[in-house]
Point group: D2
Chain length 140, copies 4
């Protein structure tokens, strides 16, 4: 059992006119963490299909502390809280050494772009994802 770690670089323009990283931009950070997890890390072990199509079915996100731009990246920990046959749920914490900024979760659905419809997870994908699962799997 392990968690995926992603050091997420900020951009100055992630701040809005109120001088904080905009709430919408945190969803962008979560996307980058998922890309690093399901495209790059999964691709390194031979599971490349997520990068050819996957869609988000649902997000839940709680904002705990405001964040201001700085050159240092923030850390995003990602793990699975559900592993179904046609979808899975990733959970995240966005933080640095002192502060937890955001808790969130996303339901991801593998998608066949050519056929324009959801598809089931392959056995290889499930084996890759299962290593990050921290809760009892529930069928989708």
């Amino acid at each position: 059992m392990s968690r995926h770690l992603y050091a997420c670089p900020l951009r100055w323009s992630d701040m809005d006119a109120f001088g904080h990283v905009n709430n919408v931009v945190f969803l962008r950070y979560l996307e980058e963490a998922r890309i690093d997890f399901t495209f790059t890390t999964a691709g390194e072990v031979g599971e490349k299909a997520f990068s050819e199509g996957s869609v988000v079915a649902r997000h839940e996100i709680d904002y705990l502390k405001p964040l201001v731009y700085r050159p240092e990246p923030i850390m995003i920990e990602t793990w699975l809280t559900r592993l179904g046959h046609a979808s899975f749920t990733v959970s995240y914490e966005v933080k640095d050494a002192e502060t937890l900024y955001v808790r969130a979760s996303t339901v991801v659905v593998p998608y066949d772009l050519a056929a324009a419809r959801p598809r089931r997870l392959t056995a290889g994908e499930r084996a890759f994802l299962a290593e990050y699962l921290e809760a009892v799997p529930v069928a989708a």
Copy 2:
């Protein structure tokens, strides 16, 4: 009792490399609907303080159908499902005549930017918001 309607213009760049409006961008559309509701519409009846500071505490969002760029705007209906003393919850439907694309809700907290902390809703703000409330109010 009424709902706030916002005709939200799309941008071609809202689509990602998969050729659909990116999931994160829908949160941007919701922000625009909230700005139109709590900055512009509230401002027209004399309640200007939201535009001087308000933060998002939580989002929930369900993606029902994919959306592709087109010149015509999409409609966003916004109403309240909770009205507390220091926060309120808005719910949304993003749709056009044929299709419901997204359902979502957001917990909004009025914020004093100068003092850098949340503040309570004023009586005037609560009166403005109460007209859009479709559920029993619960204290925050």
Copy 3:
């Protein structure tokens, strides 16, 4: 001879932490004006190929006045200052009734996405574009 007019909606998030519409976002506005011109307007007279692939080879942009978010759109006037055989240059003014905010120009190259290379303009495309040309054409 005519100019293409586009009423460009702003988004509150177009502002940066300095409280003005960010300089990069004006390029996004220009893109929207070009999309409206070369995808939508050209598509209405049967020229649909620009929307299947076109790339930007160069921008020049001068910022004359700062712009702050408001609900009203800004106007973008677009016309051609050069019409070549494999590229053309559009010029723009971003303004409202009182103020000229930005002057810019862009070199656009029609692009064959499948073949991954530039292509020449068709006779139909040149006829469409020629109506907006305000300067002597120069071969690309």
Copy 4:
């Protein structure tokens, strides 16, 4: 005489529906390089005022090769090609070991946000910037 180097991280969402990093996003990359140069690097030698206000007066940008998302950053070299008394021009190359993607330049104007007007460069700022100057200075 030296050049400022910035390793610019890409985001998957920087690509548009044509599957390349969108032309507008390169201006965002240039902004990040300038922030790193004029906010972070200048700040480390005690020149903090750029981060309290500076505006872009002009961009020129040439797109030489298309770029597709990858986890590795691209390199941005930044140096000065003009150092005036109230503005300066930075030039950039966006590249990796094999490819030069973009050449660009930007006229930057220090700005007093509180007074809402341009200001002159201080002696300290000019000394910092002069180390990066590769052409004969011309008064603004």
